[in-house]
Amino acid sequence: MNAVTGTESSGGSSAADGDFMLSVRNLQVEFYNERGTVHAVQDVSWDVRSGATLGVVGESGSGKSVTAAAVMDLVPITGAVVGGQILWHGVQMSSAELAKLRGSRITMVFQDPMSALNPLVSVGPQITEVLRKHRGMSRNAAKRRALELFDLVGIPEPARRFRQYPFEFSGGMAQRAVIAMALAAEPELLITDEPTTALDVTIQAQILDLLSTLQAELGIAIVLITHDLGVVAGVADHLVVMYAGRVVERGLARSIFANPSHPYTRGLLESTPHPREVRDRLVPIPGNPPVVTTILPGCAFADRCTSVTDRCRTLRPKLEPVEGSAVGEMREVACWHAA
C-alpha cells in the first residue's frame, strides 16, 4: 500500500519475478530545493527481460531518467530514493549492492557523448580503464581488447582513434566510442538515456541499428529511454510510457503502437512525425508537463486530457489490464477511459 497516495499498485506483471533480469517495484524518488520537494518518481514499476529491449518513453520531467539513475545508485546529492525496491534476477538489492553492479553488470550510455567523455584524456584510455578495472586485464591486453571493441561498434582506423581526444571525434563516432566503453565490461544490461537526441537524424538511425545488432550478437538486454516515439518504434520489444513520475501504460511495443490505450500515448503518437505515413497535420498535446511539488488527488494528465471527466480529477486510476487485449500482449493502462 502506497502511504502517500493511498492506492494499491499492481507492481510487476503476471509472470514470476525470477523471469526478469531487472525489476523496478514501486520506486519513489524525491528532489529537494529551496522552495520545497519535487516528487520526481512516484510509484514506478517496470521490468526488463533478458535479451530484450525495453523502451521507456516520456516527456522531460516524467521521471524516466531519474528511475534509471536510481537503478545505478547514481541519484545526485540533491535527491534521495525514498521508497520501493529494485530486484536483480529476482533478488532485492540494497544501494551498496547496486553500486557493485554498476559499471560491470549494468552500464549506461548518456545523452551527449562529448560531455560524457573527459575532454582532456584520450578516448582509448577511457575505455581501457574499464577493462583493467572490471576485467582485470593488463595494459596491453586491455588495449588490444579496446581496439576490438572499436571494430565491433564500427569505428574505422581504431589504432589512430585510440590516441585521439574526444573533440577530434564527430558526434556519432563519439557515441559509438561511448557504447564501446559501456560494452567493455561485458554487461548483462545496457541502459541508454536519450542516446540519439544530441545527434543528427541520419546518425540516429545508425546508432539505433548498432544497438539492435549488438543485442542480437551479444544477447544483452537494453533499456532505451527517450522522449521520441520514433526512436523506439522499430527497436523496442516492450514499452513503458511514463508521465509526471508515474507509469501510465505498458505492454508489448507492437501492440501499443497498433492500439494505444491511454490518451497520453495516443497524443504522443499523433504528435510525432512519421516518415512513412502521410498525415494531414500533427496534433500537439496542449499544455506542458507538470513539475510535481505537491501530490494532488486524481490523474496527473487530467489538465491536458481530451477525455477528462470529474472522476479523473478526484480519483487516480491504477494500472489495470486493458480490456480486450490478449494475455501475451501484457497490456496495462492507468486510465478511467481506456480505449
Binding site: F31, Y32, T78, G84
Partner: protein, 320 residues
C-alpha cells in the same frame, strides 16, 4: 513554463528580487553582522567630528603610549590607548576611517562609472571598439601596477586627488570586463532583441533594459573593489605615499607606530584589526550577494542540506 513566457515580454523585476534579498538577509547572521559592522564604520566616518572622543592630531607628549582602558594604567578618556605622540587611538581610527572611505568611495565611483561606460560600449557595439578596449585592459593589466602607482605618486606628490586618480586608473578594467560580459549575454535575451526590433535606440535600451540587470553584479563588484582599494590605500599610506601626517589613515598608523611594538602593541594592533574586519565584512557581503542572486546556487545549497538531513536520519535508500 510561466517563467519563460514572462521573460519573453518584460525584464525581470529588480524590486521584487531586492525585497527577497532583504528578507533572506535576516536569515544569515554572519552576513547580518558584517552589514551592521560596515554600517557602523561608515557612520562613524561620516560623523567623525561628532563621534570622536578627542582630536586625532593633538600631540600630548606627556600622554605617550597609554594602554587601552583595560590595561595597566589605562583610562576611559583614551579607550583604546594613545600612540607614540600621545594622540588618542580611537579618534585617529575614526578619522582614519573617514580618509580611507573617502578615497575608497571616490575611486570606486570614478573607476566604476568609467569602466561601466567602456564595458557598455565594448559589449554593445562590439567589433573594433570591443577589441580595442579589451586589448587596452589586457595591456594595462600587464603593467607593474603597484610600482607605477608608486612612481607616479612619488613624482606628483601624495595629495588626495592624485591618490584617488591614480588608484582609479587601475580600477576601471575589472568593471569594464564585468559589464561587457553581462552585456554580451543580455543582448541575446529575447526581450532585448524584441526591444531592438521595435526600434528602441541604443541609449534608451541601455538605460531601461541593460542597466537594471547590471545593478546586481555591479553592486557586488563595487563592494569587492571598495575592499581592495581600502587595502591599496592602506599599503600606500604605510609606504609613506598615501595619506600624510598629521592626518590619519589606518595604514599610516601602523607605519608610524611599528617601532613601538614592544612598548605599545595596541598602537599597531587596532588599526590593523579594523582594516581586516572591514575588508572581510565587505567580502562576505558581496559573496553572499553573489550566491543569493543566482537561484541555481540557492537551490543547490538548500538541496544539499535537506538530503543530507534525510540520510542522517537513518533512512536506507532502498527499503523493504
Amino acid at each position: 513554463m510561466t517563467d519563460t513566457v514572462r521573460s519573453m515580454t518584460s525584464p525581470p523585476n529588480a524590486w521584487a528580487r531586492a525585497r527577497r534579498i532583504a528578507r533572506v538577509l535576516l536569515e544569515d547572521k554572519l552576513v547580518l553582522v558584517s552589514f551592521v559592522f560596515v554600517s557602523i564604520v561608515v557612520l562613524a566616518a561620516v560623523l567623525a567630528p561628532y563621534v570622536a572622543p578627542a582630536s586625532p592630531s593633538k600631540v600630548v607628549l606627556i600622554d605617550r603610549l597609554i594602554p587601552p582602558v583595560w590595561g595597566d594604567g589605562g583610562r576611559w578618556s583614551n579607550v583604546l590607548g594613545t600612540d607614540s605622540l600621545g594622540r588618542d587611538i580611537l579618534s585617529r581610527l575614526i578619522f582614519g576611517a573617514r580618509n580611507s572611505l573617502l578615497i575608497g568611495f571616490s575611486v570606486v565611483l570614478i573607476a566604476g562609472t568609467f569602466g561601466t561606460m567602456l564595458g557598455l560600449i565594448a559589449g554593445y557595439k562590439g567589433g573594433f571598439a570591443d577589441t580595442f578596449i579589451m586589448r587596452l585592459a589586457d595591456a594595462q593589466l600587464a603593467f607593474p601596477g603597484l610600482l607605477l602607482v608608486i612612481l607616479i605618486i612619488s613624482v606628483l606628490g601624495p595629495s588626495i586627488p592624485i591618490i584617488i586618480a591614480v588608484i582609479a586608473v587601475y580600477g576601471w578594467m575589472i568593471f569594464a570586463r564585468l559589464v561587457r560580459g553581462n552585456v554580451l549575454q543580455l543582448r541575446e535575451e529575447l526581450y532585448v532583441r524584441a526591444a531592438e526590433m521595435a526600434g528602441c535606440g541604443p541609449l534608451r535600451l541601455m538605460r531601461r533594459h541593460l542597466l537594471p540587470n547590471l545593478a546586481s553584479p555591479l553592486m557586488t563588484q563595487s563592494m569587492l573593489e571598495l575592499a581592495r582599494v581600502i587595502l591599496v590605500e592602506a599599503s600606500l599610506s604605510y609606504l609613506g605615499l598615501g595619506i600624510q601626517p598629521p592626518n590619519s589613515s589606518w595604514g599610516l598608523m601602523v607605519a608610524e607606530n611599528q617601532t613601538y611594538l614592544r612598548d605599545g602593541w595596541w598602537t599597531v594592533f587596532f588599526p590593523g584589526i579594523i582594516l581586516v574586519l572591514t575588508v572581510m565584512a565587505l567580502n562576505l557581503i558581496s559573496s553572499w550577494l553573489r550566491v543569493r542572486s543566482d537561484p541555481q546556487q540557492v537551490d543547490l545549497i538548500a538541496a544539499r542540506r535537506r538530503s543530507s538531513d534525510k540520510s542522517r536520519s537513518g533512512r536506507e535508500g532502498i527499503e523493504e
